[in-house]
Amino acid sequence: MANLELPDALLVKNYVAGNENALATLIKRHESKIYGFIYSKISDRDISDDIFQDTFIKVIKTLKSSSYNEEGKFLAWVMRISHNLIIDHYRKTKKMPLFRETEEFSIFSIMSDDSPTIENKIILDQVEEDLKKLIEKLPADQKEVLVMRIYQDMSFKEISELTGVSINTALGRMRYALMNLRKVIEKHQIILTN
């Protein structure tokens, strides 16, 4: 008798006895019911495929270990396994929500990369280079204060101690340094933005 005509219970028995074709028949017979059931709960083909696969892995393991009690309800049993796996899936995704890329929703709208692009890095390097050239053109006393403050991150108290001038003089030199830089930038219409 062809496998296709045999009842589930007999196919299960044959499979446990070593007939691998019996499993193929069982899957073929019930795949659309089981898969349709999973898909109706999941609405995602890939995940449904995964759950379908996991369901039958459990079925195979249980049958091969002879721990299945045949009660003539093979389909109901498989459905119950898939139902439990669906619940497991939702438990997992609840902890870690799944975002899927759709036409209305792009994952990149909530994820962004803040690191500068190669172009931005090149522009930034260029700006730094131009600024250094401009600073070189400042009077020595102003340049000294500005470099200590901006590039060496020193306080005005430290600058005044190192250069031997008062804090007010250091502040004044810094102010003139910035004003002179602005003047040169405006005069030559230099763009120092990224």
Binding site: S32, Y39, D49, I57, K61, K64, S65
Partner: protein, 47 residues
């Protein structure tokens, strides 16, 4: 003629898993043997 307002079923009746999934399961089944020794069971996968 009367209009039908009911929605069509969203899930086609003929939905099936991918062929690769079924093929994997059949190969997995052929490769797997479960041996029970006392109360412990060992799964052996043949390459």
């Amino acid at each position: 003629m009367a209009k039908i307002y009911s929605n069509k079923a969203k899930i086609p009746k003929t939905m099936k898993p991918k062929r690769e999934v079924v093929s994997f399961l059949l190969s997995y089944s052929k490769a797997l043997s479960v041996i029970k020794i006392e109360d412990k069971s060992f799964e052996i996968i043949v390459n």
